[in-house]
């Protein structure tokens, strides 16, 4: 007679132990999910956008440990925040996305009483039209999008978008940014329109301009335009000022300039998602980031423009007088800051972009 070994051990003890363990896991798991204001904070930030010691300094000062996750662009941030239980406490959206998130009811209003260091921020950053009264956000860093160029290869100083958008002088040596909004924005500015345009005719004009220029453009580089410039892949890029500054530090043949037709004046802000698990800690963190020394350390490290007046006083001239970080008022004349243009406009821009890339 054959003796068959049972396929599954059916000892009762084993079964009970297993269930007990599972139950314990679930209880402790949910305990962590519901506990209030434990000494922890989850910070969702751009890459290389914080000082080297900022987080550890914060932990030392308050005992709150910070876990920082990184995202690559605002859309990623937005997609993550669509899930109301995303678990983030502090996020860093750009100005137009603050507006968008407020419209989507994703943000928690800030309690300004908990952020006394707000007083350090320059006045003009406290009165903005994308977030009146700074109810939902505070400025973090600001800057421009301009032209990064290789001094050896490019004649003179490029000061107009023409060289990127309408000329074949540097054919195949040009890189533009990689998304609908930023590329169409500079096309609109070049054509003399506002970068807030929602007029389909103007957008079509901008689209046609880019399509005509496509044969001279090497690549639409999402975030690594500065790498392409540094490695010699291209000679002209449309890029963020801070990124170009970083490569300029390693190679003195690279330069950055603004376009006379104007472009995007961007601002990244600190905000708190609506269902943040640690709102109190979040406020403390935002306050900490606005302390003069802390802010100065961050600004020095990442080389972007800080809106913190007190911090500016602590920073060396090499930073405060750097035209790439702080351009003159004259150069900024035609620069506009980003606004949320509505879902319909988003669709128009996206369709234009699809057509540009398919052409």
């Amino acid at each position: 007679m054959k003796r068959r070994k049972p396929l599954v051990p059916t000892s009762r003890r084993g079964f009970l132990a297993g269930t007990g363990l599972a139950a314990m896991c679930l209880t402790f798991g949910s305990k962590y999910a519901f506990s209030e204001e434990e000494k922890a904070l989850t910070f969702y930030n751009w890459d290389t956008y914080i000082g080297p010691d900022t987080l550890s300094d914060f932990e030392e000062a308050t005992g709150i440990s910070v876990k920082m996750d990184l995202f690559g662009d605002n859309d990623e941030l937005f997609a993550k925040l669509r899930n109301a239980k995303n678990g983030y406490d502090v996020i860093v959206p750009s100005s137009d996305f603050v507006e968008r998130m407020v419209a989507a009811d994703m943000l928690m209003p800030l309690d300004h009483d908990k952020i006394p260091n707000m007083a350090n921020i320059q006045k003009r950053f406290l009165e903005v039209d994308f977030d009146p009264g700074r109810k939902y956000s505070l400025p973090y860093m600001w800057g421009t999008i301009g032209i990064g160029y290789n001094k050896e290869e490019v004649e003179g100083t490029p000061d107009s978008w023409e060289i990127l958008l309408a000329s074949d002088k540097y054919a195949d040596r040009i890189a533009l940014l990689g998304d609908a909004q930023h590329v169409l924005q500079i096309a609109l500015k070049y054509l003399g329109y506002s970068l807030h345009s929602t007029d389909p005719k103007q957008i079509k004009e901008a689209e046609d301009l880019i399509i005509a220029q496509k044969k001279n453009i090497k690549v639409f580089a999402d975030d690594n335009g500065q790498d392409l410039l540094a490695s010699g892949e291209v000679a002209l890029v449309q890029e963020w000022n801070g990124d170009i500054l970083q490569v300029m530090a390693e190679d003195e043949n690279l330069g950055y300039s603004l376009a006379k037709e104007g472009g995007l004046l961007w601002e990244d802000c600190l905000a708190i998602p609506k269902n943040a698990p640690h709102p109190d800690n979040a406020h403390k963190f935002i306050n900490f980031l606005n302390e003069p020394e802390v802010n100065a350390a961050i600004a020095e490290a990442i080389q972007f423009g800080t809106p913190n007046e007190a911090a500016l006083k602590l920073l060396p001239d090499s930073y405060t007088k750097n035209p790439v970080i702080f351009p003159s008022e004259e150069a900024l004349k035609n620069y506009e800051s980003a606004k949320y243009l509505g879902e319909e406009a988003t669709k128009l821009y996206d369709e234009a972009w699809t057509r540009i890339k398919a052409a």
Binding site: F78, R82, A103, A104, K214, E233, E343, T346, T354, K357
Partner: protein, 306 residues
């Protein structure tokens, strides 16, 4: 093949895990997305299911159909290239000694356990203007020039005034290279699995009967290994069709595949219903192709029975 009724218990045990997973963790989520494609955006994040066909009408616009067609072409070409490279390799490996077999198989598979993003960036380092290929090309160019000047033809600048780096990146070439680079193991593994168990005496018999190597390959080897070939083709063509990272990272200004458009709908464009409609359109197209293939396979099977 026996009827399931003969051993229902065995059938149930074998069928249950996969069926459960398929239904609950695959079909159900897809169902949600299908329903979503009939929805309309009521606000920034809310969608109302109005059972509208507007999204599908928009997806059938020429621009999107053109992009789908282009994606099909690119994927077909990449699949063919993969097959051309993978078949000889799988063939060779299957004839090696058992130890070497595993070693060589591992050698081919190894690179693909490394994160695709990293490999793509590494590929950029090879292909770019100041990358390795151009480095070697420039070296060769210099050597050639030396030879030319030695022969006295130096002044004519036969090879051009200056070394022009080869444009190997941010164009369709790099897109192809990237796709083949990433999808090669998906072709090698099923091919190898089939070729390995091929009874080599068939080949010997065919050669003994006087057929040439080529004839043997076409009439004996290929048909016998066809299941592997088909598996490999499916495993490569279809994911290729929906890829978006590689065109994004390696392609030039023209490299837009349907995967990129769909991704954009779920991110920048924030139009989930439309994105759902587009992806379902793509799925219908590919499913149609699969059904066509099954139809021909059934026809072929019936014909061999006659």
């Amino acid at each position: 093949m026996e009827s399931w009724k003969r051993s229902p218990l065995v059938f149930a045990i074998l069928a249950l895990p996969a069926t459960f997973w398929l239904v609950v963790f695959f079909l159900l989520p897809l169902g949600f997305v299908w329903i979503l494609s009939f929805g309309e955006k009521t606000s920034l994040v809310d969608v109302e299911i109005t059972w509208t066909l507007a999204n599908y009408w928009r997806a059938l616009d020429t621009i999107y159909l053109e992009i789908i067609w282009k994606s099909v072409w690119i994927s077909a070409l990449a699949t063919l290239l993969c097959l051309a490279v993978a078949y000889p390799i799988a063939f060779l490996i299957s004839f090696l000694s058992p130890r070497m077999k595993l070693l060589m198989l591992m050698a081919i598979i190894m690179p693909f356990w490394i994160n695709m993003l990293i490999r793509t960036y590494a590929l950029i380092a090879v292909l770019r203007r100041n990358g390795y290929v151009n480095f070697i090309a420039e070296w060769l160019w210099n050597k050639a020039n030396l030879v030319l000047s030695a022969v006295g033809l130096g002044e004519y600048h036969l090879l051009g005034e200056k070394f022009e780096p080869l444009p190997l990146i941010y164009n369709n070439f790099s897109l192809m290279v990237g796709l083949v680079y990433v999808f090669l193991p998906f072709m090698v593994l099923p091919l190898y699995a089939t070729i390995e168990r091929l009874d080599k005496s068939y080949l010997e018999a065919s050669l003994d009967l006087g057929a040439s190597q080529f004839r043997t390959f076409v009439s004996v080897t290929l048909p016998l290994t066809m299941p592997g070939v088909v598996s490999g083709v499916i495993l490569v063509f279809i994911p290729c069709l929906g890829s978006f990272l590689i065109p994004d990272l390696l392609g030039g200004t023209n490299a837009q595949m349907i995967g990129n458009v769909i991704t954009r709908q779920f991110k920048q464009a924030n139009d989930w219903p439309f994105g759902s409609a587009l992806s379902f359109l793509l799925m219908y197209v590919t499913f149609g192709a699969l059904a066509l293939r099954a139809f021909f396979a059934a026809r072929g099977a019936r014909r061999t029975e006659e």
